[in-house]
Symmetry: C3
Subunit: 338 residues, 3 copies
Amino acid sequence: MRADLATRVGAVAVDGGSFTPATPMGFRLHHVIEAQDFNRGMLDQLFRIAREMESVHEQGGNRCLTGKIMASLFYEESTRTRFSFESAMHKLGGSVISTENAKQFSSVSKGETLEDTIRILNGYADIIVLRHYESGSAKRAADISTVPIVNAGDGTGQHPTQAFLDLYTIEKELGHIDGITIAVVGDLANGRTVRSLCYLLSKYRSIRIRMVAPDVVKMRDDIKGYLARHDVVFSEETSLEDVAAEVDVLYQTRIQKERFGDREEDYEQARGVYVVTPEVMARMQRGAIVMHPLPRVDEIDVAVDDDPRAAYFRQAQNGLYIRMALLAACLGADIARA
Amino acid sequence: MRADLATRVGAVAVDGGSFTPATPMGFRLHHVIEAQDFNRGMLDQLFRIAREMESVHEQGGNRCLTGKIMASLFYEESTRTRFSFESAMHKLGGSVISTENAKQFSSVSKGETLEDTIRILNGYADIIVLRHYESGSAKRAADISTVPIVNAGDGTGQHPTQAFLDLYTIEKELGHIDGITIAVVGDLANGRTVRSLCYLLSKYRSIRIRMVAPDVVKMRDDIKGYLARHDVVFSEETSLEDVAAEVDVLYQTRIQKERFGDREEDYEQARGVYVVTPEVMARMQRGAIVMHPLPRVDEIDVAVDDDPRAAYFRQAQNGLYIRMALLAACLGADIARA
Amino acid sequence: MRADLATRVGAVAVDGGSFTPATPMGFRLHHVIEAQDFNRGMLDQLFRIAREMESVHEQGGNRCLTGKIMASLFYEESTRTRFSFESAMHKLGGSVISTENAKQFSSVSKGETLEDTIRILNGYADIIVLRHYESGSAKRAADISTVPIVNAGDGTGQHPTQAFLDLYTIEKELGHIDGITIAVVGDLANGRTVRSLCYLLSKYRSIRIRMVAPDVVKMRDDIKGYLARHDVVFSEETSLEDVAAEVDVLYQTRIQKERFGDREEDYEQARGVYVVTPEVMARMQRGAIVMHPLPRVDEIDVAVDDDPRAAYFRQAQNGLYIRMALLAACLGADIARA
């Protein structure tokens, strides 16, 4: 399985889980498809490079990707995620070609397959950031692409770079990931963010997860089964106040109206049940943090924003460093030289 | 009030209205929100830098903003304005992330506030050019942004960079602004261009304004009151021919069909009343000019385009220099060094 | 007529069809409007530069267009073509301002003419790549533009850069163009790709064209007349299998559903009639190639993709080199120096 991982994510795994210095950074990725593909050693490498990227960013960026072209191939709009990737590429001196309207030259409008589109883009770009509405698309693209594919979200499937930045934020804010207690709150049924995060957390030791969700959007059995098999302690709770008092991380998520279709009643019932208010903050420990993948609607009161434990805007900022690190790792950049 | 201005636009005002050389250019802006925030000293500084930018442009641009990222955050489409800003940024070596579809990651689609969007973008961009459909949005954004906000038009409110380029064009074409007589023609009720221009002209001496508008789109009382309070002489006229003979500047505007909604009749009545034709040009003085913020429909006859007094395409070109100057001033660039 | 050509495409034609070394590359274009404007000497020059661009690309691009700005002015979406041009510009160090939504600042939405739009863009961009829905638009733009216009497709008219890359592919794959036999297959009535290619092929010697099209989309008389006048041997055939065995190039095209409007029945009758299958490939000569402008739907079986004679993805890649060459030739770049 280790060998398989190495192939899929392109890491050169040698004895004991270390990586050969295939590149000046000592870490190389081929594709970024699923959070599960990354083991703990790889996450450590990624976070080390992300920390270096914070310095690069502070110094106004560098030119280590000059001459490289990134294609933003978005089959559905997600301006925030696109901006984060494009900003990361520019900060490293690279160029971008971009569409949020990829359906127009795809199977949908003229009958072209995703595979054909990717093959053609292989001639135009050095790396492809793909956002697609169908689960499994990123894997299909990676199977035939000659340049790295980075999954920027595929349907209800995965959004691995969000999961990486979430984990990176926890490590940066708390100093460690092992041993934490985390509450995941809100839409646990549809939120791919929380799903990916659960997969990654299971790679760490002594994790406890408290799940707090309205009845109609409770965590699904597949994830619960996965956590059980990986010795993660979890429980389903109903009182956000009680949970708030005992966690290191309170990870709030938006109830996603767009997932409810015409079940308006279910949506109205689900939203507003669990809101992070100053009262909830008062229950939280001094060193704990509140996270949110954003955008938020009203599930975190704006009165909370000024609390130093409100980490969600810092979390968004970390997305830039993680994406800079991923682009550099996929393209074999030499950060030091540039 | 001087102190307040300095805060809002970030100019470092010292004794007598001069500016401390806070930057290599000797002029620094924080945000660009409203035309009124700029006093005459600041306009002089801005125009001085714009003139330098003409040289920079002639020499093929420079790299004084290399490594900087501008976000074009357009909640409504305005490709011309966006292109002008993005071209300005590229000419100075900067990078751009861009959307004309910002509603998709905004309050409208998922319920996110403008404030949250701006806070997140603060992590991705060094400057944000904002176009929004709501009056006052740019001010709201500036209130919480850690990077400069440039207002590229907010609702029926302001479009300050257009006003600056208009004024810059007058100075460049005529050699001075004090003492001019200007006719503003067309849709004076809805055109924010003319409104912003009137605010700025009131900062100059001995300005005379002749207003020529169809009945349904006459100049509103708020502007007339403002002009009166600032000792600007103005009058409302009905004969474009008579007015043409006595002005230094004839500023024509489009009757904006989109402002009339279903009042099609009113629109039809308003358009075509005042058209700049070769006959009107024949009445104009030799040294006078015709301006227009563009796009035009038929309110200036194309037969006028070849007249050397037709300044509207030169005016559009000046938009590039003004925006280069504003970006440089907001980002503290060192033009000379680059 | 030679002089006229030189004017329209900007080549400096001197005695015997050679070109003065007006630029470091020895080849300069003003505009790229129609395939017919290019004579054989010009095509040779273009292909020579495209070959140089392959080396440039292999070495990761260069900076010969640094400081130059290309405007992608697309009045209809064509992400693939846009990406190809923008990637070419970036590979040469240039910058891009881009819209796929140009109708929004055009005659359609506010009544502005194409001419006015181009005049304004002349101030913002060093070269304009224009895609428009009306035949003849590119010519209209070139007539008033002070910067080069490159036609990226105008209505049912022309798509010259596609024709150049097609011809370049033939020369590269077969080693020559004179004397080839080519089958053009599919929608010959509406496909502007095939139309432009026929114009260009007529400039070469001893060309034979086999036309294979469903009844409802047969080749139109204008092209057949043109070929006849230029001594190109052509025939209309019905058996793809028979034709496959005798050609050097099998040029397949998509039946364009969008051209049929509500004539669904005609579309259904036309599609699926001529499909390139492994069986057809078995009939083809060892050194022959299959081309396709892409996207494809099902008119080439994916089982054919792995056949080394399947040249269509290499053909798409050649589009990058051709567009790099055209941009450099229009902007007078010095490839060697950069």
